[in-house]
Symmetry: C2
Subunit: 233 residues, 2 copies
């Protein structure tokens, strides 16, 4: 493991204003989080990503409980799923310019879809590393401003991110029957943001498609595209 | 809210050996966790269940990292899914005899399927309450012995809980084609342990069924029943 480098020190300052003096072991954890499996280097991000996933879920739950104490559980659950989504994590990665610090393989570097997935994976690993270094509170402090922005955006969206329900409500209101979703698995790679393609049709005029890591996500994206067609028309 | 009662004090001692003196607010949290929505009383368990779900996932991840530091991430993920499952939570509820303390509705009391679901839901809420009262470490201490037993059982199971894969491997080895799964949604109630029924067939002799909260769980249970037929024959 190379010695603590200046870029990682900068990242640390970006992540956390804590006065804790970072030790070599802490830099090693950050380095581990930022080393993608595709680089062929070890130790790589996987174990910290696995931990980060659970840390993210708990700290997001705490954020919602504290920011929206009156929110019913069904809405909390729907909001949380968006505040821990791969989409959200990929955006976080963009915001902190994670690509300035990451170590990824040459194949992954040339592919923008792969880059979004890697951004999400390494951001999650970084959450795991920060938790290991400085505990839940540090993660909470780091992520809260990001969640505040995202939660406001989600809650001001009339569909609340549930585009399938919104499309169904619209179609029932119009009396044009129900939309039909057809999904296809386009890649076998777990975590691929373009693993599933979904096509939604609603005769006579709606025909749209969406992509996602899961069938469900692809359906939501297809419904979102359909709703955009409606708004545009 | 009624004053702290002796049964709750006993529960507290069962859960936690910590020397912390419980305050009225802590008893109120335990009471909230043990009050099921079906009782019609408020505050009920829902918000603590939502929190407990995330606490459970994080503490289970920590347990696995510490008990099985060499385990690859794929296996960690599969083991974790079993250590946080509704089935596991319902067993935990049985072990601590949660029905001695819970408050549930009269309809729910008469139905054994509903009872398993409620056991799981309230156990998860109890995890949320314990976390609020005494933090992550207390939850970890409480659950670790339960996880140790479950993890040993899972890891000594030759199918590692993935019965669908095991059945498929067997059928391919025998050259008898692939098993066919047919699932049906039998109830609309979210969380119902008998929401989906799945029938698996593998001519000429295998025919079995399973139930679950999700299509996936029902399929796994059907595959498990099929494997049991094979072992029995």
């Amino acid at each position: 493991m190379s010695p603590p480098t200046r870029p990682l020190q900068q990242l640390w300052e970006t992540l956390n204003q804590a006065s804790k003096n970072l030790e070599a072991a802490d830099f090693a954890l950050l380095q581990e989080a930022l080393t993608h499996t595709s680089s062929g280097l070890k130790p790589h991000h996987e174990q910290l990503e696995f931990l980060g996933d659970a840390v993210l879920r708990l700290t997001a739950s705490e954020f919602i409980a504290s920011a929206y104490p009156q929110m019913p559980v069904g809405e909390r659950s729907s909001l949380r799923s968006q505040l821990v989504s791969d989409r959200w994590l990929a955006e976080l990665g963009s915001t902190i310019e994670i690509e300035r610090w990451w170590r990824i393989g040459p194949k992954a570097s040339g592919d923008s879809t792969a880059a979004a997935t890697i951004r999400a994976e390494l951001s999650e690993a970084l959450i795991g590393a920060l938790y290991r270094i400085n505990g839940l509170t540090a993660v909470q402090q780091w992520l809260t401003p990001h969640w505040q922005r995202s939660a406001e955006a989600v809650l001001s969206d009339p569909h609340r991110g549930n585009c399938k329900s919104a499309l169904q409500e619209w179609s029932q209101g119009e009396g044009v029957g129900l939309p039909t979703y057809r999904s296809e698995e386009m890649s076998q790679r777990h975590g691929d943001l373009r693993r599933f393609r979904c096509r939604v049709t609603l005769p006579p005029r709606i025909k749209a498609e969406g992509w996602g890591r899961s069938r469900r996500e692809a359906e939501q994206q297809a419904a979102r595209a359909a709703l955009n067609q409606l708004t545009g028309s």
